[in-house]
Amino acid sequence: MIADIESLRGVTLETLYDTPEGHLIKSCIQCGTCAGTCPHGEYMEYPPRRIIKMMQLGLLDKVFDSDSMLKCVNCYACMSKCPREIHLTEVLLQLIKEQTIMRLPVVPQELQKALENSYRYGNPMGESGRKRINWAQNSEVPIRILSQNSEPVDVLWFVESYPSYHPRGQDTARAIAKIFNKLDIDFAILGNEEKSAGECGMLSWESGLAESLVDYNMAIFTKYKFKRLVTSDPHALDAFKYRYRMFGFKQEVTHVIPFLWQFFDKLKPMLKKKLHYSVTYHDSCCLGRHNGYFEEPREILKAISGIKITEMVHNRTNAICCGGGGGGMWLDTYFKSQNMERLSDIRIKEAIETGAEVLAVACPYELPRFEDALKVAGYDGKMVVKDITELILEAMED
């Protein structure tokens, strides 16, 4: 991970070479691991290795004129295997991506819409900001909203857009609310005051949009007193943990799964119900490769009696991305037009091969992506996709 993220604010491709990150880039040995491990590497004219070479030779314009970086799904695969530990996804690729998008003759429509929606409504789906809290109405447990009761709180739960609006996301939001209640956690949410964190990919793609969201959320955070931020979206975790730092955000932040891991001793005896599921777990890129939470989700799953975990061929550091990151969520149509197989369709085949009945996930993008992929694979009904929090709640309830 980057040693000094604050120092990178304002760094451009012109000034990058002179930073410590730039020195790392100069150490590239052109081994091609990045291209070989990139899930979309075969479809890129300029995968990371070639970008570095072009940068060295002053030929980056050619890179910007290709759509290669539009195909980057911010999965951190290249970065995690790079033998020189160059922070490709975190630094270089973000800067290249921004230029690529700026020079695209036409931004793919779905993506354009998502960016506009985020700007206008604070969420990529274009839902009304006033409906953000709706999921909580039938949550069956009390959920404090800070605008109604601004007393200091231990945990500010940043719900994020997918758990707020997407029907399956809302299921996980309600599950988390119930688990927090059962664990007696002092928590509150921002409710309709919350806007998308800006997620890792988008932040770099549209720095103007990103900064407006950062400014907005940072201003809201200063209104309330809380000890730590816990989010239900790994992309938001990345945004707060790495990008918001550049803008002065200093508070402790974590994701729901590592947060629950901190309460594991209290949680474990509450998992009384036996669940006779064979489960395979899909590592979220942001949670796993980027933040190193490989074992915590697995340990929590193993604590539920009856659950048997079978690993997919690609797991942990080597997991394959669902294709939703870095804007991929809104590029499925574009990728299809380029004859690219959807990554969620590739990944679901590995999940199916394990013979598991449940595909456990920890990222709200993955629920809709894999549910759709199951339909495409004709496996609808034979395997179900569940968020880990849903499984925890199931095991907690009699």
């Binding site: 990045c34 291209a35 070989g36 942990r316």
Partner: protein
């Protein structure tokens, strides 16, 4: 001027070191300045002070100008202090009437501003000139050297060193922790670039070691302590219980035959687990010595105490002793050669290569055994599922050149990969792909070897392997896909193979740090033992009398290992045959009149050089053990410990010199 040391006439010299110093330091200015300092009679600069003419200049100046002290500003004293001390001596002075100024490593090389660098040189020179006036004449002491040598490790490096020394008539103790000598080389099939069989060239040397009258071979033993100093070491050896009385065993293997386990069923270390052994075993047919060992981890007797002990009854010579305990003995040696070798990187550290996950993935060392005629399959390359590979992928740089594992190039993997490609081709006629980052084949006949193997039709793909996973096209999922970017054709390629060979790199042994501490030698940051000088003292350590051989110092191939082992033996011989060593007289000594006998210094000494004499109630310092670290000098509450070359007069004058910058004439100062 005359002080208590007599008339002081100083000769000062500053070296250009080509342009190394002169490009940053204005040597004219320094020379002119030094000439203005008290007691300086001669002040000169010269292109290479270490050259013959440079030294000759010092010698003749001493004689012609009646100099009594010499100061040279040049490189690090580490490099040339001895050179100039010697010149001082040749000129007829005590060699310690000399002081060196490091104006290269600690000045010219590390600054960017030439004016400031010159000022710094002036300050350092002034300090040295003030100091040298206080120097006293000192003599080096001679200490005799014990002629016996201890060699740690019985791989090819230790074997070569031991034989060289033994052939020269020296008595050698060779200590090996495994039950047999031979090391990694004994496991190899053939060796690059000549493709001669490793066993054929190694086993004769192994038996020479065993039979040599001058070599005491201790296998299944470890050095657990080393005290003393060059010429006079005391080593403590631990003999691990073999549960066999070594003197009685003749290696007939009757006990192995009689073991209650009728079939071998435990991990066979020598064959990398590709075959099984019994709890009572001999590692391999040419093991040296031919003595059985019993592994308490797997033997029923040690696990449950309920064994019928068939091995004991089977041995006609009563050599099996299940009650054996570890035993210790102490030996005296004058020099030590460390040849503790390397380990290969655990391939699981690169999780995406699937070692331990997919049965078709092998390490290079496993393949060495697999193609060896005396290996687990008698040289037939059969995979774990019993099939024969038709396509093989060899993956270079596994655990090398990678910050996640080891950053260094392991130096031998390109060549052994090429060798394995050839041998596998010979054994299987399979199609073979080598995936490499850069082909590195330096050394005599190595590039020619690479060329020869390339002509055999191997496929070389320039790209580091990014992923290995089962091929979905193969209904049995046994075939593996090796995925990489071929960076030359700029395409992502996925090669289906039946067998993957991981060319794992070389790294320090996992206990290298403990051994380092025990021997009081140094490791570089990666954990290999560090040599005294990378070019000029490649087998010496910073501890006198301890030498390095083989891969414990860094990855190297067999020819280089053998050459280094010979060099280490030669260094040891040079010391032994000289018969004595001279000790640098920077030792501390006690002013007995003032010592109050408080004993504060005794426990502080890191070299256990200080003891307390009950008769006189005073502390005494053993000069041979003292390294001149100064700890006791600083700690003594009554100030009664002094140190040669670091006495108060000398240090205070040096401080006065460095602080006396007002002494710079105004017109010369840049300030």
């Amino acid at each position: 001027m005359e002080n208590k040391n007599g008339k002081i006439r100083i000769g000062f010299y500053i070296c250009h070191c080509g342009t190394n110093i002169a490009s940053m330091v204005d040597v004219d200015k320094v020379t002119e300045y030094a000439a203005s300092l008290p007691n300086v009679v001669v002040s000169k600069h010269y292109k290479y002070m270490c050259s013959d003419p440079g030294q000759e200049m010092i010698i003749s100046d001493i004689k012609e100008n009646n100099l009594s002290r010499v100061v040279v500003a040049a490189c690090s004293p580490f490099l040339h202090e001895n050179t100039f001390r010697n010149a001082t001596f040749q000129g007829g002075l005590n060699q310690f009437y000399f002081q060196m100024v490091n104006t290269r490593e600690q000045n010219a090389w590390v600054h960017l501003d030439a004016l400031a660098t010159t000022d710094k040189a002036i300050d350092l020179v002034r300090a040295a000139i003030y100091r040298v006036a206080e120097h006293k004449p000192l003599e080096r002491k001679k200490v005799p050297i014990h002629p016996d040598v201890l060699v740690l490790g019985g791989g090819i490096a230790g074997i070569q060193s031991a034989l060289t020394l033994a052939n020269a008539g020296k008595k050698v103790y060779l200590v090996e922790r495994e039950p047999t000598i031979g090391g990694h080389m004994a496991m190899f099939d053939k060796t690059f670039p000549t493709l001669d069989c490793a066993a054929c060239i190694l086993t004769p040397k192994m038996s020479s070691v065993k039979n040599h009258p001058n070599i005491t071979l201790w296998t299944y033993a470890e050095v657990v302590g080393l005290d003393g100093y060059v010429g006079n070491f005391k080593a403590k050896i631990k003999h691990k219980p073999r549960y066999i009385i070594e003197d009685l065993c003749v290696g007939c293997m009757d006990c192995v035959e009689a073991c209650v386990y009728k079939e071998p069923r435990f991990f066979d270390e020598f064959n990398q687990g590709l075959s099984k052994r019994k709890p009572v075993y001999i590692p391999f047919p040419q093991a040296t010595p031919q003595i059985v060992v019993i592994d308490p981890e797997t033997c029923i007797h040690f696990k449950s105490d309920k064994c019928k002990q068939t091995c004991v009854t089977a041995c006609e010579r009563n050599a099996v002793d299940l009650q054996q305990q570890p035993s210790f003995e102490e030996i005296e040696v004058g020099t030590v050669i460390v040849a503790t070798g390397f380990q290969t990187v655990d391939a699981r550290k690169v999780p995406y290569y699937g070692y331990g996950q997919f049965p078709g993935v092998y390490t290079a060392l496993e393949v060495e055994r697999l193609i060896n005629a005396s290996g687990p399959t008698q040289g037939e390359v059969v995979l774990r599922d019993g099939s024969h590979p038709k396509t093989i992928g060899i993956v270079h740089c596994v655990g090398s050149r990678d910050k996640h594992t080891n950053q260094w190039c392991s130096r031998v993997c390109c060549l052994y990969s090429v060798k394995l490609a050839h041998l596998l081709k010979e054994h299987t006629d399979a199609e073979i792909y080598n995936f490499y980052i850069d082909m590195r084949t330096p050394g005599k006949m190595m590039e020619e070897f690479y060329n020869r193997i390339a002509e055999e039709g191997m496929k070389f793909i320039r790209g580091r392997v990014a992923d290995i996973y089962p091929d979905r096209e193969d209904p049995q999922r046994k075939r593996l896909i090796v995925k990489a970017e071929d960076t030359l054709i700029q395409e992502i390629i996925k090669i289906p193979v039946d067998m993957v060979v991981l060319s794992t790199g070389l790294e320090p042994r996992s206990d290298a740090q403990e051994v380092r501490r025990m021997l009081n030698i140094a490791c570089s940051s990666e954990g290999f033992y560090i040599e005294r000088h990378p070019k000029l003292a490649p087998v010496n350590t910073f501890t006198d009398g301890i030498f390095l051989a083989g891969c414990c110092q860094g990855p190297k191939d067999i020819p280089d290992t053998v050459a280094q082992a010979g060099a280490a033996a030669a260094e040891a011989l040079a010391l032994i045959d000289k018969g004595f060593i001279e000790i640098e007289p920077i030792t501390a000594f006690i002013n007995e009149e003032e010592c109050s006998g408080c004993k504060s210094c005794v426990p502080l000494c890191p070299y256990t050089a200080i003891s307390f004499l009950e008769e006189t109630k005073k502390a005494v310092i053993n000069e041979a053990l003292c390294k001149g670290c100064g700890t006791c000098v600083a700690a003594c509450p009554s100030g009664s410990i002094l140190q040669n070359l670091f006495e108060d007069d000398e240090i205070f004058s040096e401080i006065e010199g460095i602080l006396n910058f007002r002494n710079i004439p105004m017109e010369m100062s840049n300030a």
